[in-house]
Symmetry: none
Subunit: 539 residues, 2 copies
Amino acid sequence: MKNKVDLKVCGVCGDKALGYNFNAVTCESCKAFFRRNALTQKEFRCPFADDCKITPVTRRFCQKCRLDKCITIGMCKDLIMSEEDKAQKRQKVEENRAKKRSIGGSGSSNKRMKKESSLTDLQDNEMYSSSYNTDSDQDNSVSEGYQLNNPNIVSYNPNQENKNTVNDERIACSDEKPSDDSLTFQNLTQHFYNVNHSNLDPAFLSSFMNSNTVNNNETAVPVPSYNNNNYTASTENRLGEDASSKDVPRDVQSQKSHPYIHPFESILSEAIKLEYDTYSSIAQGSSQSRQLNDAERAKLNELVLANKALLTPVEEELGLLGNELKDVVKNQMSGQNQQQTDPALLDLINLTAVGIRRIIKMAKKINAFKNMCQEDQVALLKGGCTEIMMMISARRYDSTKNSWKIPSIQESLNVNVNVLKLAKGNAYQELERFIRTFDPKWRTDENIILILCAIVLFTPDRPRVIHQDVVKLEQNSYYYLLRRYLESVYAGCEAKSIFLKLMQKIMELHKVNEELINVLLDVNPSQVEPLLIEIFDLK
Amino acid sequence: MKNKVDLKVCGVCGDKALGYNFNAVTCESCKAFFRRNALTQKEFRCPFADDCKITPVTRRFCQKCRLDKCITIGMCKDLIMSEEDKAQKRQKVEENRAKKRSIGGSGSSNKRMKKESSLTDLQDNEMYSSSYNTDSDQDNSVSEGYQLNNPNIVSYNPNQENKNTVNDERIACSDEKPSDDSLTFQNLTQHFYNVNHSNLDPAFLSSFMNSNTVNNNETAVPVPSYNNNNYTASTENRLGEDASSKDVPRDVQSQKSHPYIHPFESILSEAIKLEYDTYSSIAQGSSQSRQLNDAERAKLNELVLANKALLTPVEEELGLLGNELKDVVKNQMSGQNQQQTDPALLDLINLTAVGIRRIIKMAKKINAFKNMCQEDQVALLKGGCTEIMMMISARRYDSTKNSWKIPSIQESLNVNVNVLKLAKGNAYQELERFIRTFDPKWRTDENIILILCAIVLFTPDRPRVIHQDVVKLEQNSYYYLLRRYLESVYAGCEAKSIFLKLMQKIMELHKVNEELINVLLDVNPSQVEPLLIEIFDLK
DNA sequence: AAGGGTTCACCCAGTTCA
DNA sequence: TGAACTGGGTGAACCCTT
Ligand SMILES: [Zn+2]
Ligand SMILES: [Zn+2]
Ligand SMILES: [Zn+2]
Ligand SMILES: [Zn+2]
């Protein structure tokens, strides 16, 4: 037999270990390391090659490999207490300490309950908590099931004997990287359809058309919000598991859709009201004047300004890129066009890159956008930029000539819609239909177009959006703005009608976008701008 | 044997050293020197013969030899943070500071401050201070046993004259003679191996076998690189000026304009200013002003103070009332319980009266409330007190035990949620859901809870509210405060998301309240506190 | 005893300022 | 340039409940 002292070795770094920590034999430092770092979602980066050997000496140098090793040897995140658990524990400790102190100490200070002097304090206490809590310490079947520190683990049996001989197959942990980076085209289109349908929900419509309808029609909030909080997953149904679960007939426990939960829409509309409420609008009661109030005007103005930056520029970017593009095109025309893509089409496609760049710029000028987290910004732009571009371009479309007038180019660069016919599929038809059915009256109204762009930008169900609720809020805010704008310009009835039609256009736009993406996917990646490749995940 | 005090000597200049810097033992000045110069491109020239002795005196004469020496003794460029890293770190520090400030300012509950010099805080919170003293008594003699980070230091002989070897097992760096400009990967690794093989523990070496570190930024890693370098020190655009001016008139100042001041006026004017602030923050939009400004902080602080009155108390009120209650209960148990109400439930209900009394006190400490007309004060309290109480109690809820811990009672008074099951209807379910779905992270944040309480208090559509507009304005101002508080603590996206969720909680609370009221209405009035009878119009 | 969390001195980056 | 300072990460020692 070995010397028993040496028997335990940290599975991570090989240092001396005292016992199990988070389901694996580790040293104290790796235990602390794991506790501190396993739940943070920040990505460590290995300064070397992701295969560092972890020793007591080297363990400090590379957090990434150390953490990876931790997980590899079976350390289990679930055993780390949540914030709530910790708070609870602290509280309990505090309690015990107080009790001990007051018992051990003089005790006379605070506890003079005059009337009950004959009874002990404990009993006194029981009058209040009669048979609920005090009991439960000993034999109340309610909470007796397991008293493990961490209620997450149900199947863990701490009483295993012979820890050494039994091979340490402890808990099978479910630590795995989510890695759901599956941004497939399928996925994308799926999303778009969903969008369309949900937006058409009458509840949704009515929530805008009537100023303050709270409509219960809508079923549960379709926002799963999986990504954003790390612990809700673990704490969510904690209550369900313990005390209340046993002898009490529990009728509805983890129902997803509860009748009393307020529909998300109504919360959003509430929030939007907050956003636009002004002193004046409150003061003069409900006499919502048709004119835009200051907040509304400010919001609209923000868009206009953001767009300014997009309009004024300049030859350089476009010129430069134009040349690049031309080179590409020429190059392709002269030589090796191993693919069928027509140069004119390719030209248009790459022109898209220019547009996208500007849209990014523009988006960055919208505060609500700028304040979002990086991930969401990327997701929204990636998912929405082409739609936005098409929306903007609709304004520039000359329906008599069937071509776009690209601004800010010396010689007006007209791109005829015919080029899209070159693309396979029905991208052309879609686009044509979209524009043709877009009444020039709205299509040429800058304000409308800009608001529509914002609505499109803040589409909550783009792939990989994290804070869907926030995006949704912002989108609704722009829907509201659109309605208000229309009301301020048109008579009530007409405004509503236009509003509906515009919503229709947004949905159509999604459709067109799909087709456009098809076209892009059909192109040889080597011939298009890197930006586009990134945006569309062309591989 | 050496004097252990002098054990550490700068490997570059021989000055006193404190520890490792950039992977070598150096003094502070050589550390700074290396950080500043190691990454610069410029070639230093030795004014002498490239062999200067570097001493504390001479070290500043020749940068070239000094830097060479640095590299020779193993200082490692890779450990100098990149500009990007630094920006990131700065930002994080900034965030933390903000968070600490805004939370610390209000004295978050359980967090003990560092080790305060004992008497910074006064009678303010005796419960806490007592507990820390006992703590700090115990563990004074903690750790001198702290061995150098590197335990193998024992084998490190600082007196070795062979300066070219790397003596200890720290990081093997890729700094090599700058002589060869052709830093090919081959070249580099070659050097790496050469250097290390001769001097390093093979085990250590193998751990970094595959290292391909290139001195500056590795190019190999295909990082998406949408880094957030939008950290720009900007124009500090403090709203403090307007803010303070707004802050002042709150109390008494306004007399000068009129001998007789209608309370509303001051409120309204405040609201207008507040709104102005909101505006400018929208307009300027830059997220720089994430910190709460003075006015905001003051507003929050008012709540905290108001709440203090609610926390510190005291046995007397509760004790007294406890006795009252007990009488009631006893009375009921012994004799004429002509109604079915369970004593425990009745107990809880009457405990409610205690809470309500405190809430009234608290409300009276809020200026905006105090300044309202009597009728509205009554209406708001009547309509809102139970909701407020539930909101406050959410903070005290122990979800593992399913019970509340009523503070400021010696032996913790636990009220199990089960008592509510005794009530008919689904009050219990509602309450449980409300709390269970209330993320502890927010639920236990005193600031959040207090602001939510204020929002609930100023609910404009309570029955019999006269000046709805005034109430609404006040409520909006607290909504605004909530938003700002969240922004000051969380990143933009996160903040908004939380904001929405909290709004939802408020709505839910209304629902729960209805149920609760049903319970109360079901109770025999003779058994409950008169206050309750008044509040709930029990007849 | 096991195995959770907590504490605090220490190490070493960066930052400030004279 | 360099002394003094700030602050995040680390780990040995310790505290607490089961
Ligand atoms: Zn270890
Ligand atoms: Zn590594
Ligand atoms: Zn030195
Ligand atoms: Zn020299």
